[in-house]
Amino acid sequence: MSAHATTTTPQVEKLTIAQAVKAALRQEMQRDERVIILGEDVGKDGGVFRATEGLLDEFGERRVMDTPLAESGIVGTSVGLALAGFRPVVEIQFTGFVYPALNQLLAHVARFRHRTFGRMHLPMVVRMPYGGGIHAPEHHSESYESIFLNTPGLKVAVPSNPYDAKGLLAAAIRDEDPVIFMEPKLIYRAFRQDVPAEPYTVEFGTARVAKEGANLTLIAYGAMVRVAMDAAEVLQKDGVSAEVLDLRTLNPLDKDAVIGSARKTGRVVIVHEAPRTAGFGAELSALIMEHALLELLAPVQRVAGFDVTFPLPKIEGHYMPSAARVVRAARAALEF
């Protein structure tokens, strides 16, 4: 994979995803004074998940702006800031709060380059913690990447680990086009990983083989990569060698990695926590069918969220795709 570090002194830090996000923000702000942060509670409070902690002290309130509580206002003013030469990194506190900003995102952020015939463009990043499983109140658990994937002009990145979180966010901030950066809050602090202390980028459109395998491919992104890895471990005990593909960015998509793995194993299970119908799994499934039909040994399986409103904490565990559910889908593919 084309993740690369420019290491002069080989130095690593053990970071969580949330800390890796902060490290990328900090280094990119040091690197480029046009990078600014806007959002609710991103300043003094350091963000409700502390992803911007300390940045106000380091960079001042002209670069780390606590804004009025208005998502459309945050994204809409960032459009203006980007047009005037800044590189805004917006924090939307939860994906479930992004709806007031959808008009700005869909009608303007995604379209500016196209509607100006390439004469104006918006280098901006909209970060948002997404996903369920943390026993949060209503509207705090959504995974609505499909909205953004069906909006040409946006890029969508979803890291699954601290290394990718730092490298993908740095790449997003350096990108000339707008990026929706969805952070898996279920695993914000779930584990630490050795992350290079130096700045580096992870190239968009390059999937990561999280585990090599021969009999079956599990495709996942974000928090579901861990679920897929757990499922692969269970399958391994039964002698099934599962490959786990971590997409890292959904748009651009590493088509060759998806099709290559599907052709190699002939069996694919796609895992995401967003609702199943018209979810990204449907797109992946169609793509695999178009390019690997004759190599397939079983129908592509989807383990996804149900087509329901995200349930409140008492039963949300039953909504979330689990390793057991992935294993069942894998067996269905293996026994087809």
Binding site: G73, G76, T77, G80, A84, N103, R115, T116, R119
Partner: protein, 357 residues
């Protein structure tokens, strides 16, 4: 606890040039004869472009057009107050501002015939494209004004919207963000009384848009939007404040949309001929002409010369617009991203094969 007054406010209306062509000398801006003639010429050009566009539309040579008839002073007054380094954030009826800033007419028309090459002009990197989603562009104006403030640039952004937009959330968020961040932004709301078929009285129960500024802590003023001097004075003052980092302003230009909302609309369905005629008597162009005539600046011969000159100019601009090489269908893929991703490349090649066959 006693009851105390925590806030009191008043809202001013400014008028300098009356419908009969007389002016309030004490309020007149310092404009020389050349500037007055330039304003008149600009307004006459807008009117002629508007009339030509409507004719072209009926002939099938123009897409949907949003007529600006009646709003010439509201646009000329703003355009005249702008400096080249100021930013312009239009809604969708601000062709007049662009014409006065020197954007070629054929280029403006190119957008309205449905060709995105006309959306923005390379020589005017600080003029944003037409914004159709009502009110959404005001936030872009606030953001640009924030950028000017953050970098301490002595320039400002003018963001336009109409009366209907004052009901949108983005209007309120834009005023609030601009005030909180001391954006170098001037919001110009052309209150043309109609949001398609809905009258101003149904947008709000208050009597002006200008007074809404009080709620966000920025100055608001209503001007007679058919009085080019009043518009110019108010915008000039607001721009000077903004450029100097003294904060944003809201200006309501109280005017009237003489035409239909767009060529897809029929305003006779919802408003009376009498109402339209009553505004014809307040015409922004006629009153400036009366003033200029009384000043000895203008006569019938000059009027006829100008008309002939502008008509010739517009014919040439239409010719330029229509002689432009057709837009390649494949171009729709080209500016989605800085680079062409594989899926767009595939789709573009498939379209090109389809077009070629």
């Amino acid at each position: 606890m006693p009851r105390t007054t925590i806030y009191e406010a008043q809202t001013i209306r400014l008028q300098i040039l009356m419908p009969d062509g007389s002016v309030d000398r004490s309020l007149m801006p310092t404009v020389d004869d050349g500037q007055i003639l330039a304003l008149y010429r600009g307004m006459a050009t807008m009117r002629a472009v508007d009339e030509k566009a409507l004719k072209l539309q009926r002939q099938g040579r123009m897409g949907t057009w949003a007529p600006l008839r009646g709003q010439e002073a509201a646009q000329a007054g703003v355009a005249h107050a702008l400096e080249p380094e100021d930013w312009i954030v239009p809604a969708f009826r601000e062709m007049g501002v662009l014409i006065m800033r020197g954007v070629p007419i054929h280029h403006i028309m190119t957008y309205w015939v449905g060709d995105s090459r006309g959306a923005v002009h390379p020589d005017f990197p600080r003029i944003l494209p037409t914004a159709v989603p009502v009110g959404s562009q005001l936030l872009h104006g606030a953001g640009i004004g924030m950028a000017m403030e953050l970098r301490d640039e002595p320039h400002a952004a003018v963001a336009f919207a109409g009366d209907g937009a004052s009901s949108e959330g983005d209007f309120h968020e834009a005023l609030n963000f601009a005030a909180v961040f001391k954006a170098r932004t001037v919001f110009v709301i052309q209150n043309n009384q109609w949001a398609i078929s809905v009258p101003f009285s149904k947008q709000t129960v208050v009597s002006s848009i200008a007074q809404k500024a009080h709620a966000y802590g920025l100055p608001g003023i209503q001007v007679d939007g058919n009085d080019v001097f009043a518009v110019y004075v108010a915008v000039k003052e607001a721009l000077e404040q903004a450029r100097a980092g003294r904060g944003p302003s809201l200006i309501e230009a109280f005017t009237y949309r003489m035409g239909d909302h767009t060529t897809a609309d029929d305003a006779s369905r919802y408003r009376t001929k009498e109402e339209v005629e009553s505004w014809e008597a307040k015409s922004p162009i006629a009153r400036l002409r009366l003033f200029m005539t009384a000043q000895g600046l203008w006569d019938q011969a000059q009027e006829e010369n100008l008309r002939t000159e502008v008509e010739g100019l517009i014919e040439e601009e239409v010719r330029l617009m229509e002689s432009r090489a057709p837009l390649e269908p494949g171009s729709m893929f080209q500016h989605m991203y800085a680079d062409l991703p594989w899926n767009l490349k595939e789709q573009m090649e498939s379209l090109q094969a389809e077009v070629a066959s």
